[in-house]
């Protein structure tokens, strides 16, 4: 049983007339859901559950899905609270429809030991969404010595990653994958060859040439994706590739999966929504690592989502203060926030017929839950009532100044999106504003 921040609801909830999409249970139709004691009591034919003093949510015209799970966010606490805290990050998650998030360990201090993990969990106790910590692969994420994986697991970490950085030393990565088998611990890899990436600040290509900015070749990611797949294959450890951005990575993942390698992968909404053209005019809001790539990569990402090569959509939510993103492009830190725009951008894929709705929801619920091996991501009776209610026809304009996150660093400000979470229920509890 994993410890995490959570809220338990007391009252019964009856969610009526909603269109339930529950990929795990193969459900894609109108059903009513009864929540009791913070758990899903039943999911049945509309109108068949007596109201009996339950709080009613009329979900007509809405989608009712398992609470969304974001397995890649940066909550910045401890150490960088001026960018985000666990509280504000969880509020942003809830606003975006996420009931669970996994926070990366590149805090200060790095989460490579029990005390930091426990600190994060204690800060997350009252948070608006559940927070599951991810520990570091190596001590201090320095890439040299393994962190104490067993301690991190028993403290509550679901996975380990040195995210923000790659584990450059292949031998260290190999040992991490081998050692992880004791605990069946997921290893999440940030695939980037530092020597190739050098001092690059955006994708290497026509745009970087024109702007006179140092580029990061797609090979910097591909080389490490290839390496880590080979290591996963030879060690039998469980590998998950973070933030896939290139066609090359998608292609290698497809082949690896066909061979039966235990590898899974995630991509982020910006990699299927933008290209490096977004960087023109030196837009620091379009600066992240891995960088936005070119149309061929965007198409490959979409294809990878479609054919299942890419299992998960995660945000890599990376808040930064306004001052940090102002000024010279070279000096701006990498990263954009994503919790509050991910669902809208994902639903755009559904509207564009890139993904069927069920698959889009699967990438945000069942798949991350399955990879993290947590009992979430479905609306099965008996499970904790983490439910997201989505209004798929709600047209809205992204307004960064209204974000619940402390930070506003998004390239999507002003974008018109269709579809938004109007209710995010964690453990049967609905609090905070809804948008009915």
């Amino acid at each position: 049983m994993y410890l995490c921040g959570s809220i338990r609801g007391a009252m019964n909830l009856l969610i009526k007339n909603g269109h339930v999409v529950d990929p795990v249970n193969g459900i894609n139709k109108k059903l009513d859901i009864l929540v009791s004691g913070g758990k899903i009591a039943s999911v049945t034919k509309p109108g068949s559950i007596p109201e009996n003093g339950a709080q009613i949510i009329d979900a007509s015209g809405k989608l009712v899905v398992p609470g969304l799970i974001d397995m890649h966010v940066h909550l910045r606490e401890p150490g960088f609270e001026y960018k985000e805290t666990i509280t504000t990050g969880a509020a942003a998650a809830k606003a975006g429809g996420f009931t669970s998030v996994c926070c990366m360990p590149n805090t200060n201090p790095v989460n490579d030991n029990r005390s930091v993990t426990e600190f994060i969990l204690s800060q997350a106790r009252e948070a608006a969404a559940r927070v599951f910590p991810i520990g570091a692969i190596t001590k201090g994420s320095k890439g040299e010595e393994l962190a104490e994986m067993g301690e991190l697991r028993s403290a509550g970490c679901l996975a380990v990653s040195d995210d923000g950085k790659p584990v450059m030393n292949a031998a260290v990565m190999r040992r991490a994958l081998e050692y992880s088998k004791i605990f069946d611990m997921l290893i999440i890899s940030h695939c980037e060859d530092i020597a190739l990436a050098a001092k690059g600040v955006m994708n290497e290509g026509i745009v970087s040439t024109e702007l006179g900015l140092r580029g990061i070749t797609r090979a910097a990611e591909d080389v490490m994706t290839a390496r880590d797949i080979a290591l996963a294959e030879s060690t039998g450890g469980r590998l998950h590739i973070a933030h896939v951005s290139t066609a090359g990575s998608v292609s290698m993942l497809r082949d690896a999966k066909a061979r039966g390698v235990k590898v899974t992968a995630e991509t982020c909404p910006h990699y299927f929504s933008l290209t490096d053209e977004a960087v023109r005019a030196y837009n620091t809001m379009a600066k992240m690592n891995p960088p936005l790539r070119i149309a061929d990569d965007v198409n490959a990402i979409k294809q990878g989502l479609r054919d299942g090569t890419l299992d998960v959509i995660a945000t890599d939510h990376a808040p930064h203060a306004a001052d940090e993103k102002a000024g010279e492009f070279d000096y701006a830190p990498f990263g954009i926030v994503g919790l509050e725009t991910a669902l809208g951008l994902t639903l755009k894929l559904v509207e564009e017929d890139v993904l069927p709705l069920v698959e889009a929801i699967r990438k945000l619920t069942a798949n991350p839950a399955g990879i993290l091996k947590i009992d979430k991501g479905s609306l099965s009776a008996g499970s904790e009532a983490d439910i997201t209610i989505i209004d798929p026809s709600l047209e809205w304009t992204v307004n960064a100044s209204e974000f619940k996150s402390k930070s506003r660093n998004t390239p999507f400000n002003g974008w018109k999106l269709k579809g938004r979470a109007v209710q995010t229920i964690v453990g049967g509890s609905i609090e905070g504003r809804d948008r009915f």
Binding site: A198, E204, G205, I206, V207, S208, T209, E210, L211, G212, L213, R214, G215, A281, Y282, D323, A326, G327, E328, F329, D330, Y331
Partner: protein, 309 residues
């Protein structure tokens, strides 16, 4: 006719007419530097700041002289001796200068896009004196002025630019400008120094210097920065000079009237042999013309029109 924007950030996006306006205006100002009293009152009472985040002799002095010959008050700020050393941001530095009511801020910065950022937030006119690898518009303008002066035109000429194109703002600005004016541009260097997609800017690419120079009307040599060797971009100056250096033998393959140009400072014996360097006065003409071109730019950005120059 006047310039469309308050700033000069780059040659990209400028029309042939705008470039011609600057070159024609520069021709008028060139005379001023030949006179005994090198002064015209065009910018009298205006304040010009040279905000240089990168070291420079040539460009900064050139801008300073240009401003002073126009009768402006010119202040030089080099950041090693300013509060940038105390950690002051670009934004705050610029705002403080603007608060002192400066008309023109000339910026050289190691980060591409820095002048564009300043131009967005400041009301003053911003002139890009070189930003990262991005653009060095006044250099390209003085290069085009020089070619036009010596050969009578730009359209239809072939210009070869040789060297570390990838890290060169001079190359990029010249590609934009020369192609806009109807010239053909060939870029040449080792593959490690040719940036991806440069052909999309309108340049022909070759790794073979003899092919690049063949029949060229002007050959622009770029300075090889020796730290590129440490970065593994080329194995050493000996090999570089052998394949990409301009010597008299190679120069013979260019057109007989070919101009040899260099933005300076030169690495004698590396990208250009001493013989060639010393037998071509055009390189120094570039410097002379630089002052005139910069006078023209400052004049036009301050609302001057060619008729008044």
């Amino acid at each position: 006719m006047a310039l469309r924007t308050k700033d000069l950030l780059g040659i990209k996006g400028m029309t042939a007419d705008e470039i011609k306006l600057i070159l024609d205006t520069a021709a008028t100002f060139k005379d001023v530097s030949e006179r005994d009293i090198k002064k015209v009152p065009a910018l009298r009472g205006k304040t010009v700041i040279n905000l240089f985040y990168e070291a420079s002799t040539r460009t900064r002095t050139s801008f300073e002289l240009a401003g002073k010959r126009l009768s402006a008050d010119v202040i030089n700020i080099s950041t090693s001796t300013s509060s940038v050393v105390k950690g002051e941001t670009l934004l705050d530095t610029a705002r403080n200068l603007e608060a002192m009511k400066c008309n023109i801020i000339i910026v050289r910065h190691s980060c591409s896009g820095a002048p564009e950022y300043l131009a967005r937030i400041l009301k003053s006119s911003v002139i890009n004196a070189g930003d990262g690898f991005h653009e060095h518009p006044t250099q390209a303008l003085l290069d085009m002025f020089t070619i036009r002066e010596k050969l009578g035109r730009l359209a239809g000429l072939t210009v070869a630019i040789v060297g570390d194109i990838a890290h060169s703002r001079v190359a990029r600005s010249n590609i934009h400008g020369l192609t806009a004016m109807g010239a053909k541009v060939r870029v040449c260097g080792p593959p490690t120094m040719i940036p991806p997609g440069i052909e999309c800017l309108g340049a022909e690419v070759t790794y073979d210097m003899d092919r690049a120079i063949d029949g060229a009307d002007a050959v622009m040599m770029l300075r090889l920065q020796l730290e590129r060797q440490a970065a593994g971009l080329f194995p050493g100056v000996r090999e570089y000079a052998r394949f990409y250096g301009l010597n008299t033998g190679r120069l013979a393959k260019a057109a007989s009237h070919a101009l040899v140009m260099h933005p300076g400072p030169m690495n004698r014996g590396v990208e250009i042999s001493s013989e060639v360097a010393d037998s071509t006065p055009v390189i120094l003409d570039q410097v002379t013309n630089g002052v005139a071109v910069r006078m023209a730019v400052m004049f036009l950005l301050s609302g001057g029109t060619k008729a008044e120059a």
